[in-house]
Symmetry: C2
Subunit: 219 residues, 2 copies
């Protein structure tokens, strides 16, 4: 698969790039070509240090990344979502777009989920892109830090929401390519609000209980 | 501790009774004395079959159970919450009351969290009881089936929400008495909505993915 990764909120984009780059073609997107190239090179460096296998990773501007991709991972802060979609809109045809976006705000010392009028960032994204694009929500509740450290054995679940069955299936298959991560069907795209709201919940929970970055496992 | 257990929605009340009855004094409450006695006897039977240790468990009417208790576990369906509180109100003094209540409705084949005007069942309960009662929300996301089977080794987290620090601490200590269950501080009572909403989410997730009853572990 050709996977564009746009933005690296909390380094989750980096983690996915590292975990997929031996098996898939990774295209790091950024607003600036030089930034994208620099990120791709730094990830490639980590991957070369980790194993002798070849990896396939490069960096280009966001719209070029999207134009070249089958799957587009959107890992930007919620505040950047609308302008990102504007900038890539002309390149959207029949890709699958995966929203990792979580609308949240700081309130006192903790984070609060602040869903947009559409009910969730995922549903808003679906409204913003052409109907031919499959929209899926996933990867909100993984520990980016543990994902980024390739020495870490993972044991996580990733809940995937989406109403385009084929798109959802593609994303669930990609998740299976990450060792120790189990994809779970979380229902329709309208069901994404709960997995988005789990992100601030997990961050707050870690903070309150002096734990490291938390992911989730359903047992 | 003297622990009253009122109602057994999805058998979570039964599971808690079984897991605590060797160490604590369990008082099963029901609207009818005979039903309470019958339940207590059936739990005692399971406990005697499981181990030779003595267990301390009896059944009485709800209000008498509450009057005798330090901790009151409220595991009734949301629809029964108001009338339950009415019936036990005269016996509420300075107990800690633990809400396991989840307001949810069936929608098509799935369950949907339907928070009351107060924002959550826990906050509603806090409004309904005297200020001298400590209100805590917990145990929404445990697998009742696995809790009830004493052969099962558990590995779960229980998130506890409450604004009365002493009450929350008492409940977290009680959770530590259940082997394999880790209490986590989930913040104020107003934070309970997310853990209540996780109940229908987990039930739907299990159904969609053909999994057994799910609990949760934060890793």
């Amino acid at each position: 698969m050709k996977i564009a990764i746009l933005g690296g909120t909390g380094n989750i984009g980096k983690g996915l790039a590292l975990r997929w780059a031996y098996e898939h073609e990774i295209i790091i997107g950024s607003r600036e070509q030089s930034k994208a190239e620099q990120l791709a090179e730094s990830y490639a460096h980590i991957l070369r240090e980790n194993a002798t296998k070849t990896c396939n990773i490069r960096g280009v501007e966001n719209d070029k990344a999207v134009a070249a991709a089958d799957i587009v991972i959107v890992a930007v802060p919620y505040q950047a979502l609308k302008s990102l979609v504007d900038s890539i809109y002309p390149c959207l045809t029949n890709q699958v777009i995966v929203s990792l976006v979580v609308p949240m705000e700081k309130q006192n010392s903790y984070l609060k989920y602040v869903p947009p009028d559409d009910g969730s960032a995922a549903v808003e994204l679906k409204r913003l892109v052409p109907d031919t694009v499959g929209v899926v929500a996933a990867f909100h509740n993984l520990s980016a830090r543990k994902l980024c450290n390739l020495e870490n054995r993972l044991d996580y679940d990733v809940v995937v929401c989406g109403s385009d069955k084929e798109a959802k299936k593609k994303v669930m298959r990609l998740i299976e390519d990450i060792n120790g991560v189990r994809p779970l069907d979380g229902g329709e795209i309208e069901d994404a609000a709960i997995i988005e709201s789990l992100t601030p919940f997990l961050i707050n929970l870690a903070r309150r209980n002096n734990l490291g970055e938390l992911g989730v496992k359903f047992v």
